[in-house]
Each structure stands twice: as C-alpha cells, then as structure tokens.
Amino acid sequence: MPPKSTSSRRCGLFFRRKPVRWIAAGLVVLLLAAGALWWLSGGPEELIRTQARITVMSGPGRNEPVTLDTTLYRPSSASAAHPVPAVLLAHGFGNSKDGVSSDARRLARSGYAVLTWSARGFGASTGQVHLNDPDYEVADAQRLIDVLAQRNDIVHDGVGDPRVAAMGASYGGALALLLAGHDPRVDSVVAEITWNDLSRALFPNNAAMPNGSGTAPGVFKKAWAGALFGSNILRSPTNPAGIVNSANAVNSANAANQPSNANQLSAATCGRLSEPVCRMYLESATTGRASAQTQQLLYRSSPASVIDRIRAPTLLLQGAHDTLFPLDQADANARGISANGAPVHVAWFNGGHDAGAPTDAELTRLRDLTSEWLGHYLQRSEAQPASSFSYSNASGLGLSQPGVRITSYATAHYPGLSGNTAARGIALTGTAQHVANPPNGTPAALSSLPGLGALLSLAGNVPSVTGADREINGEHAQFDSALLHQPVTVVGAPTVGIRVSSSTSEAVLFAKLYDVNDNGDARLINDAAAPLRLTGLTSSLSDAKPVTVTLPAAAYTFDKGHRLRLVLATADQAYSGPAEPALYTVALAKNSPGITLPQVTARAQTSQDNGWQLVLAVSIAVVLAGVVGAVCIARWRRRHGSRGKPVLDVTLRDVPLAVRGLRKTYRGGFIAVSGVGFEVAANQVVGLLGPNGAGKTTTLRMLLGLIKPSGGEARIFGYRSEPGAPVLSNVGALVEGPGFLPHLSGRENLALYWRATGRPAQDAHMDDVLEVAALGEAIDRKVRTYSHGMKQRLAIAQAMLGMPRLLLLDEPTDGLDPPQIAVMRSVLQRYAVDGRAVLVSSHLLAEVEQTCSHVVVMHQGRSIAAGGVSEVIGGSTTVLLEVDDPERAAQLLRKLPQVEAVQHTGEGLVVTAPGDRSAMVAALVNAGIGIERVVPRRRLEDAFLSLIAQQPPVNPTVDPIMVDSVSAEPTSGVDA
C-alpha cells in the first residue's frame, strides 16, 4: 500500500476542489466558537472550600460556648499578596449553611471569600435558637468576623478589621442588619426579604387613628407564625428531620392549650427553640395578643433596635409577594439607615415568602444589583450604583413556571411608599354596610397562607381565585370605583379613609384591594390583606372618626376598563381575630377623595442589555455572507472549471465514452470495481456484459457522476464526467430500474423531467419518445398504476428525451415481454446513428449478441475483454455439428490437428476447435458425411470460462492502485 502518494494526492484534491466547503465549515466553526465564548463569558474560577467547626463564646456573659458548623469558600487566587474582601452569608429560618452553598460559590467565583455557617440551633451547629438575639446569634457572627480578621488572604481596613459584607435572606437578612448595627466592622449589608420590626411584622396594624392608636399591637399573623415556629416545635433535637411522632404531637398540643405549664417546657416540646422564644410563641399563638414581654423580645431581635447605628451601605431586596415581611418592613429599614447618611438601595422584586423561586429574569436582576453593590462598596472596583430604588411590574407571561414576565424600572432616589410624584385619587362608591365578625373567626376569608401563597398567587398576575371565592357574604363590605378610562399604575402603599362603628367599641378588619376585570373576575393585589385593629370606636356611624388605612404596598397596573374594589372583611384565615361575635358598620370617610394611589416616575430598564439582539444581527449577517460567498464561489468554479485534471481531452472529442482504470472501493474496504477500461465509439451499440455482481451498475453510476470513483476516470466526448458535469446533459440514462413520481401520470413525469433539465421544450422530441414508450392511453394514468414493464418502457423513453448523443441503459429489457424486447432491440440499433452511441448493460449473452455490435465483458469488478461481439463471444471455439453419421464423423474429426475435443450429446457432436472451421467442414464433406447443421456453441458460461481462463487470477486483497495500473493496459481499445 503506498499511503503517502495516495493521501497527498487526495489532500491536494481536497484543497483544490472544495474551497466552498472549507469556507462554510470555517464559518460554522467561527459562529459556534463565538457563541460558546458568549455563553461562557467569564470562565469559572477555581474554588477552595474549607469546612471547620468553630467554637465561640457567646451569651450575655460571653461565657457560653457554642460550636458553629462553618464552610469557607474562597477563590484559589486569594492569597496574602492578593487578599480579597469577605462576605458573611447567613441562611434562612429552618435552613442550614447548605441552603446557601450555591450562592456562596457564585459569590466566591466573583472574587469574595465567603463564610457560611449554620446558625445556632440549626444544622450541625449546637445551641438553641434565640431569634437573632444580640447576645447570641449576633455575638456568634461577631466572633466569625474575628475569625476572618485572622486570615491574611482577606483585605483588612485596619487591625482586626477585615473588609466584610453581611448578607442573608429572611432570618439571615435580619442578622446581617443587626450585625451591622452591633459591629462597625461590617462594611456593607445585603438584606433580602427580611424584617425591620418583628413585633410589627407578626402583629401588624395598618390603621392610623386620629388619636394615634395606630401604633397599638395589631393582629397576630397566626398562619405564618405557626409555619415558622410551630414546625420547629415539633422538631426535637433527636428528631431533626421533623418527623412527628405522636408523643411529641400530643405534648405540643397540650402545651399550646395550657400556657400555665409553659415553665415545664421540655426539649421535646420546644425542639431547638430557646426557652424565651418558645414561651413567646406559645403565648402569642394562644392569646393572639402581644404581651409587653413578647414585644420586648421581638424588638431585641429586630434591626429597628439598632437602626440608628447602621452606617454600612445597605442593599435591601424585598419581595412583592410577601405577607410575612411586606414591603413596608424594607421601607422602615431604608428610612432608618438613610437617616444615618448611609447609601441605601431598595429593590422590590417579583417574589418573596409567598412566591416560589423568582423567575430567571428577576433572579438575574437581583444578582446584578448585588454584584454591582458589592463591587462598589466592598471590592471598590465598580462605579457607584446610580439608582436608589428599583421595582418590577408584571407585564406578561414568561417562559418557565411560574411564568410571569416582568419589566423593571429604576429611580435615582428612593420615594418611600408614597411615591415621588402627585398621587392619583380614584373615587370609590358604596353606602355604609353592616358586617359581622363570626364567632371564633370562622368561617374566614382566604387571602394567603404560607405554602399556599405560592400556589394561589402564581407569583402574581393570573386570576386564579376570584373574589367571589375568597370573600364570605355578610362578613365583608365592598366599595367599587368606576371603570378606568386609562391604565393606572400604583407604586407604593395606597391609602383610603374609612369610618367604622362597632357594637363592642373595638374592631378587627382586613382591608384588601382587588382588581376587577370586565368579566367581573376580581384579583387580590399580591394576595395581601392589611389587618386593622381599631379601638375606641363609637356604636353609631354618624359619630365615627375617620380612620386612614394603609393598604399593602405594591407595584401594580390596573388595566383600562377594569375597576378597583376595596374590601373590608371581618375575618381572615391567616390572622387571629377576636373570637367573640360582633357587628360593625363600615363606610367610606366623609368627603373622601376615594383611594389614593402613589405614583412613581421611573425609567423602564428593558433596553438595558441589547447584547443578544446584536449577536443575533451579527450572526444573521455572517450566515448570509457565508451563503452568498458559497454561491459566488460555486458559480465561479462552474464557469472556470475545476482545477484538477484537465476537463477536456481533445483527442477524445469524438469518442462518446472512454473509460480508463475506473475503480470504486467502499469505505468498508469492499472493492466493487477494481479496474474497468473501455471505449464506446460513435454509432456503436456496445454491450456491457457480466454476471450479477460484476460491477456493471456501479460502473454506470460512476459514469453518471452519482458515485465518486476511487480512481481512474470516465470521459464523455472528451470531457471528464463528474457530479453535475454539464457534459452529462448529452447522456440519457436508465440505471437500476425506473424512478418516477408515482402521483403523476407518465406524460407528466416526462414533461416535468424535461422541465427539470431546464432545456427548451421543443428539444425534447416528446412525441418520438412517447412512441418508444408505446403506452397508449396508459400514458395519462398515474405511474402508481403501471406494471413493471410499463415503467421500464417509460424509463427508456425518459432516457431518450432530447435525443442524447449517448444512451446508457442498465438491463433495459428487464420486465419486457419478447415482442417488446424485439422492438426495443431495433429501436436501439436505429438510435446509434449520426454519431450517437448506446451502452447497454446486461447479464444475458443472447441479448447482447442480438442487440449490440460490440461488447465489453466484466467479471469481478474488472473488464476482461472488449471488442466486436463476434470476436469476443462468437470467437468461441466450440461448434455443434449435426451430421448423418456421428460415429464416423467423430473418428474423422479427432484425427484433424486443430480439433481438441469431440463429444457426443443428444443434440449432436460438440467439437472444440479453435481457428477456421471451413477445413473441418471440408474434411467431413470430402469423407461423404452429410452435414445438416454447423452451429457455433455460444453459451454464456463457455464464453466467460474461456475468457476468465485467459485472465490472471483476481485477488481482492491486491492493492487497487496496482490493479489499476495492470488492468488499464490490456483492456483498452475497442476497434471502431
């Protein structure tokens, strides 16, 4: 095998002949690479993860040890020479450090050392939950800052003062704020969905009485409190997975029913809650009221207690779908911290405790805000964040569940909950209505419940539960606006003035704002209710003082044609109202402007990132340029010819077909054609004769450019035949049976085939060709209905369309009956005139003999003989003699020198004698033997066997190149 010469020749061909493909491939690779780069922009950095159990001393006396389970994530690039800032990342209630590991990794990859830990009472840390008490959880975190201070791969702002941000969500967010208030070493805070004042969050009161009683402890948020603390109660230290066993359940039920036993609280009852926290919850859950003690405990655990000491730049991310820590909690934090002169950004996002995970777009926005914030205030590399307030508003349906599409907006200054421009008043109508508080608060309307919230709201904007389903008749008053003539967007907390009289001088009400569409479906904005605890009420409405109700803050658009509906209900499943039945009368305040909707002027941030639009435009341009380029190159090549071997061999211009050393080796190593060479001269009908599997059809396919030869070439009138070579338009072909569109008639098939060649219709000679097909009326029937023979005749007719100068027919008589075969023979013989030629392949000697003037014999992929039919086949040395006296004749013939063998058969004598037969006949006549017949014996086998006997044995393992060079010589040349 000479691999070197073969491969270099192939490569040469490849480069010379396929520039189009190379360019296309290059473009594709380029595009893919660009896309991959875009996708992976900013490759991930290696992280080092260190787990450690750190024991710190906390408690009021700083003498109570607690072991914290910590993990430090830091970029591998961090070192003493290249210190990085640190982030203390705290987790949420009921979670552990594992819950923030993915956030920690993401931050660490952006170049921060991130310390996560399981808070006391959670995960693998020891201790009990003190609800972010300054002496416990906050002290623990301060000791962790001390740990960071000892590391030299962390940036230091002073001795023992590492540059560190406190970050966390919910429970962790409050810890971050409290830590910043208690420890000045904290350089920045990122607090997500967290509280300002836990007492106001768990006992909200959204009513402002003229006498200032709005600050009175509000209505207990029993559902959320139960979801948070109750689940912890049923989780004993030995049973941290929260599997409730019946003993525990009974214990907790008993404990809840008998607050007097609270001093006997056992570990099994309170789980990992510390005793004060446990006691506080049990008391609140039982009475629905906040005692002074409870208020004090909750205040200690609230950022509100240290808000005047927080000077670290603070990013507050608050969810719009959060009935646990609503937007007003973030508002209180923002106002408090801003008052100290520290930079604050408040971001409202589509999410929160009621919603599931934020959508991808919203998550991206929060991450961008965070990285911008830390990038400036911690890494000090990025520009100062330009805006102080951003919010998002549902604007349609998104890609994935829960599937809300949002648009985000931003303003330079935080407007608070009352907007930064003149508020809009929308008039409400409705007379005074009587509403009843049901005994024990049941039945109660449904606003939102923990866990259910995500399902109910679907993060927002779909009317999932209509107002009719939610409100209970007789327990609510409603006041509607007129139809809106234009869309109205509210950003902030709407306010409305009402009057209430009560049979008991007190009232608990739940104010809710609905969006009612033109079908009457009412949607509760953010599924949030504003609980009101009103005291000192009169029994007559006429004496009632106006009360200002602040509804839950929201960013929401009421569409044109909708109306607003204010609902005041007496009971809500999420809250703990009075158990005693009572009757209230509710009306709008006198001279009320209706509901006041705060307005914010902000810029939409949809066009923030046009990267993909640009990438798309560039990609389209590149693809179009690639297509245009490929077409141009293809055209140019077609006009100027391929630069391989010469296109035209002038010496063969008048030879219809010249085949030289044609070979075909398939990929598996199978050699279909190992060396074929012959010529078809003008006015010849040449037979390509060989048994099935000799390679006849493969040869014909190569002549037509359907199969690429592995070697050698075929020239048609001197031009190289290759795929799509124009010279093929001079060739009509039938290869391996007919191929027609079955749904069209024979005539339509021929007409469309001719149209496909793009040549003038008058050159088709359609009538002559249809005569050859001789299909009669059937020509207008669908080809689907044809017999094989009919299709075969149609295929021959198709090959003759346009009277091509060379006809290649593969087994043309297949399926024809004898009369049709006879007709076809004469057609072919008449066709090969005026310089035209016909090549007919067949495995039938008789057919070749009767149709063709010349023959090429193929065997095992090689042409082994070529010449006139009589020379090749008729040159058979065997003759059949029928004589009147076979015995004598045989004796006589055996004596003749040229006779090699004489055999008796039933037909007569079979004589093998090369050379002239006349001497043989003369000898018999001279001997007086009567000759009835002298017939050459020309059986296919005989012809083949004698021809094969003259050939060197074909060895399939012989290298094709060698076969090529050997076979090219003896098999060329058919005399004209």
Partner: protein, 306 residues
C-alpha cells in the same frame, strides 16, 4: 439603430456563450442555473397527496377548534393556569385575533410535524422512488437540487403555517367578530397593533421550527426512508422538550432548541420584550446553520446509491 444594436447584442451573446459552452460541452440549451427551478419543483411536490393532507389539516383544524369551542363548555375560571396555552385558552373566543393566536399555539406541535414532514421527505422520497438519480444525471447540480428542494420545503412550510393562521383568523372573525386582542392579563391591544404582533408571533413560531426542519433535511439526505427522516426529527424535538423540562439541567437547557420556543410571549408583554426572542432566534439560527450546512455537505459528497 437600436434594432440593429439589439441584433448585434444577441449575436454577441451567442458568440460569448459558445466558447463557454464548448468548454464544458453541454447539450444545446442546457444551463446548470436553469435546472430544477423552484417552479418545477413546486409543480412536482404540490400535487403529492402528502401536500394535500398537510394543507387540508391546516385548513380544517381551525374549524374543528371552533366546533370544539361551540359545543364544549367555556368555563375555565376555576382552573389553574401556568402555561402559554392555558393563558390563551381562556380568552380564545374573545375575537378573531384571539382565536387565531390560540389556534397557532394549540396546534404548534401539529405544525412542527408538518414542517418536519415537508423537510424530511423531500429528498428521501425521491431516493425511495428512484427519481433522485435521474435528476442528478440530468444533470441537476447537487447544490442546485438541494437549494430548490430547500426553498420549496420552506415555501410549503410557510404556506401551511400562513394557511392555518389565516383560516383561523377568518373563521374566528366570522364567529367571534373583529375585536381587539385580549390578553389573559386583561389588557386589550387595538386590532392594528394586534395584527402586527400576531404576524410577528407567527414568524417566531415558524422560526422556532427551523432546527427540527434542519435535522429532518439532514436525515432526508442521509437516509433513503422518508418516514425515518420525519420520525427522527420529531423524536429529536420530543427529546429536547423533555430535556428542557428537566430543571436540574439549569443553564444548559438554554442551549436546547426548544427552550425558547415560547419566547414570543414577550410580544404579549407591555412593553414588549425581545431579549428572550433574540436569544431563542440566535439558538435557532445556530442549529439551523449547522444542520442545513451538514445536510448540504453530506449531499454534495455522498455516493448516490439509491
């Protein structure tokens, strides 16, 4: 003068053409660029039964949907809605535009199968009939044949989609009236703008079929079985859809061709958002470029043994 010039021009034209012609010696009147024109290929394809079935389905399905709405209960108020389909079905009968949009979304899979059929069977069916070798021996240059087939498949696909949306718009308007497009959020878009957005959504939905069309085309030139080509492409779509529903795959899913198939929802947002559509269009374009290029590469280099 001008006439004479014209004659000269014609004469010169022949004189210039003849050396070229003699260089490659085609039969008189043969020009590679005139073989298998789009019109010819359209004539060959449009009379096939599969084309009639595709067009018939596109025309009948909107009527069936109208009937379903007519006889079925339209009370969906209590149901939970999360997907694009759910959000559109509630407002499907609000007007002709709503009905057309709903029909487009509800029948997206049918359209995808039809597009896969049109692209997947175009070359493979010729191979299975045996007519492919005769076209190539005519000779229709292989790139030319593929370009015509591609263009006709594309035209037919566009035709089917436009027919379906057009019929839906027509019958929807006849039954429900010419109303502004009502969105599930309650917003109403004026008819003119809504028609523009419906057109853009139809365009994007059609665009999102290109990766499947590309695979069908690649399979069509690679294997000689039309069923295999169409089935393979549809299977590919189903598999990618399954993968894009597996949230554990995270960001990787964004590289799947079907991940952004509902990004047109951005056009129903106020203000409209095109970010996801741009991403989706880019992903689609990449798949289409690679698959169609691969199909072309394969077809221009392969041995035709069918």
């Amino acid at each position: 003068m001008s006439r004479k010039f014209g004659e000269v021009g014609e004469h010169v034209g022949v004189a210039v053409a003849s050396p070229r012609a003699s260089l490659r010696a085609p039969a008189p009147g043969y020009q590679p660029a005139r073989t298998l024109s789009i019109r010819t290929e359209l004539a060959r394809q449009l009379r096939r039964r599969r084309s009639h079935i595709a067009a018939g389905l596109a025309a009948i399905v909107p009527l069936l949907l109208i009937l379903a709405f007519w006889f079925g209960s339209s009370d969906n108020s209590g149901e939970k809605q999360a997907s694009a389909y759910d959000s559109l079905v509630t407002v499907a009968t609000a007007g002709g535009l709503n009905f057309a949009l709903f029909t487009l979304v509800a029948t997206a899979f049918l359209l995808l199968v039809l597009v896969a059929l049109l692209f997947g069977d175009t070359v493979a069916s010729e191979a299975s009939w045996g007519s492919l070798r005769y076209l190539l021996a005519a000779p229709v240059p292989r790139s030319r044949l593929l370009a015509s087939k591609w263009a006709v498949s594309l035209l037919c696909s566009i035709g089917v989609i436009v027919l379906l949306v057009g019929v839906a718009l027509a019958v929807g308007t006849a039954v429900y009236g010419w109303q502004p497009l009502q969105l599930h959020t309650g917003t109403k878009l004026p008819t003119g703008q809504a028609l523009l957005r419906l057109t853009a959504i139809t365009g994007y939905v059609g665009l999102s079929f290109l990766p499947v069309a590309g695979l069908a085309f690649l399979l069509s030139v690679s294997i000689d079985s039309p069923i295999g080509a169409v089935g393979g492409a549809v299977m590919f779509h189903i598999v990618t859809q399954i993968f894009s529903a597996i949230s554990a795959l995270g960001q990787l899913r964004q590289a799947l061709p079907s991940y952004y198939s509902e990004a047109w929802l951005g056009l129903l947002s106020t203000p409209i958002q095109t970010q996801e559509m741009a991403k989706g269009a880019w992903v689609t374009l990449m798949y289409a470029t690679v698959l169609f290029s691969a199909a072309w590469w394969r077809f221009t280099t392969k041995d035709i043994v069918s």
